[in-house]
Amino acid sequence: MELAQLKEKARWIWRETVRVHGLAPETRVASSLSDVEIFTTLYYGGILRHKHGDPDWVERDRMIVSKGHGGISLYPILADIGYFPLAELDRICTESSFLGSIPDHIPGFETINGSLGHGPGVGCGLAVALRAKKSDSRVYVLCGDGEMNSGAVWEAIMFAAFHKLGNMTLIVDDNEISMLGFQKDILGLSPLAEKLKAFHWEVQEVDGHDIPALLDVLRPLARRQDGPPQAIVARTIKGRGAPQLENKPLCHVMNLSKEDIRSLLGEEK
């Protein structure tokens, strides 16, 4: 997909995420807006191998959204690639839908999500299994920076490096805000990239909203099997594109009002 098309997709995903939040205010919209371009690049930029309409395709790359709360922006993508009908988005958080405010058992989500810190460890198990099966499928894990405070994450970081899981890429959505405020004021991770390097990961830092920059760091890894596991520390803005949320320490738990949503979607026209 050309860059202009990728940007158009990202815009559409952003709009759908905001719209779906209007239908289900329980969704964590700020967390789901910081990873829009990351998902766009993975799914439409030729990075993550997937097959239209077949979420169980054995040759797919495995995507774990460890920061489950921020997975709402993946809903429109999974519908768009035929894993379920687009109309399902309109039924989010209703009894008849499988789309919750946090993704659980949904086609395209590999794990049960909502509790943080599990994705990297489960991803290690997938990576060992795929290697044992001589599969060239890869494992992508998306974590939030707040989630990186969890001890289980660092058990996995040690494991992946020691076992040289080159078929695994960890993307940290480094939006600098956890639930109760700025990460630097809670349990600061800086310098995160240096820490990961010290644990023998291959690390790159990138602007997580810059699709060409994301493509530049992800493309060379896309079929990698050997060498160290790779981490992408993606600098992002929590609540990006919604001035009501951006840079607000409590934006994780903030909702957009109906008026905000109308205004935001109107501005986009």
């Binding site: 489960v122 198990g125 997938l126 060992v128 494991f159």
Partner: protein, 312 residues
């Protein structure tokens, strides 16, 4: 003079059978939380590519096991019993919840039932696991009394794609079941002896105490060995027990906290039974005395002499 052949400890019975089965198939992984045994050394030497020591990292032990199982591998995860509790939420989410939607064959091989690790103290004792793992949907809980059951359970574990907890005694236990015994896994218990008046219901090493107690009591009691805490056929258990005037529960676990006592109570309640119930187990306390298993059981009132005295 020839030495008598001792039965294997439970973990070695499991590991030996597993080695045999791993020879026939390549879809079994064995993960250890830096915990070993001489038989495990044989396993890791024979199957180096399917053995992983994850280190002292129980959350990783469960999460990596989950990932392997998601890709269709059968996994045995091995650690000292109480240390699995560090990964209780990983077990809850990545094994129990996750099993609601897909088949995950992960077997938690937990060594050190009750006070097996006697002098190591309460960090190494485990009196809560019988109740704890029973809480979760899709989990199965195996609580064997001898090595024969352990060996047989490996074949069941391979056949049933569900998360399971294997509560293995750390000390060598006498053999109860003949080698050709076919456990009824869905029933979950076995009547070791029919009796009159009193029936002793027990699990794990307490079944051996129950046999000693039964020998000593003049009323000729029955003995029932519960080897599956879940699944367990409560209807069948209730029908087996309700003909007795007195039912005595023996478990090296906390009483009144959802362990074997609650299962037996539920089974008997459903039968409308109104006899005398006695429950022997650990009170709401830890044991810090650095003494042998026998002394710890005596302090807890779980040795055969204490129980015989209480029932006579």
């Amino acid at each position: 003079m020839t030495q008598p052949i001792l039965p294997p400890v439970m973990r070695d019975a499991v590991l030996q059978r597993l080695i045999e089965r791993m020879r026939g198939r390549d879809d079994i992984f064995f993960l250890s939380g830096d915990f070993g045994s001489p038989v495990l050394d044989r396993l890791r030497q024979e199957f180096p590519s399917r053995f992983i020591n994850v280190g002292i990292a129980e959350q990783s032990l469960i999460n990596v096991s989950c990932g392997l199982a998601m890709e269709g591998f059968t996994v045995f995860a091995y650690a000292i019993a109480p240390f699995f509790l560090r990964a209780f939420e990983q077990i809850r989410i990545n094994l129990s919840l996750h099993s609601h939607h897909r088949k995950l064959n992960v077997n938690l091989v937990a060594v050190g039932a009750g006070a097996s690790y006697d002098v190591a103290g309460p960090t190494h004792h485990c009196f809560e696991d019988l109740a704890a793992y029973r809480l979760y949907p899709h989990m199965q809980v195996f609580s064997p009394s001898d090595a024969t059951l352990c060996r047989a359970f490996v074949d069941r574990a391979l056949a049933i794609p569900a998360p399971k907890y294997l509560r293995l005694d750390g000390k060598r236990q006498p053999v109860i079941y003949r080698e050709d015994f076919q456990p009824d896994w869905d029933r979950g218990f076995h009547t070791l002896r029919e009796g009159v008046d009193t029936c002793l219901v027990s699990t794990g090493c307490m079944t051996h105490i129950a046999s000693t107690v039964a020998d000593a009591l003049s009323c000729g009691p029955g003995v029932v060995d519960v080897f599956m805490m879940k699944p367990l056929d409560l209807d069948a258990l209730g029908r087996t027990l309700c003909s007795y005037r007195r039912v005595v529960i023996l478990q090296e676990a906390f009483t009144g906290k959802g362990g074997l006592d609650h299962l037996v109570l539920e089974a008997l309640h459903a039968q409308g039974w109104s006899g005398e119930l006695r429950s022997f187990g650990l009170k709401d306390s830890f044991i810090f005395v650095p003494a042998s298993r026998e002394v710890i059981l005596r302090l807890a009132g779980l040795d055969s002499a204490s129980i015989i005295g209480a029932l006579s």
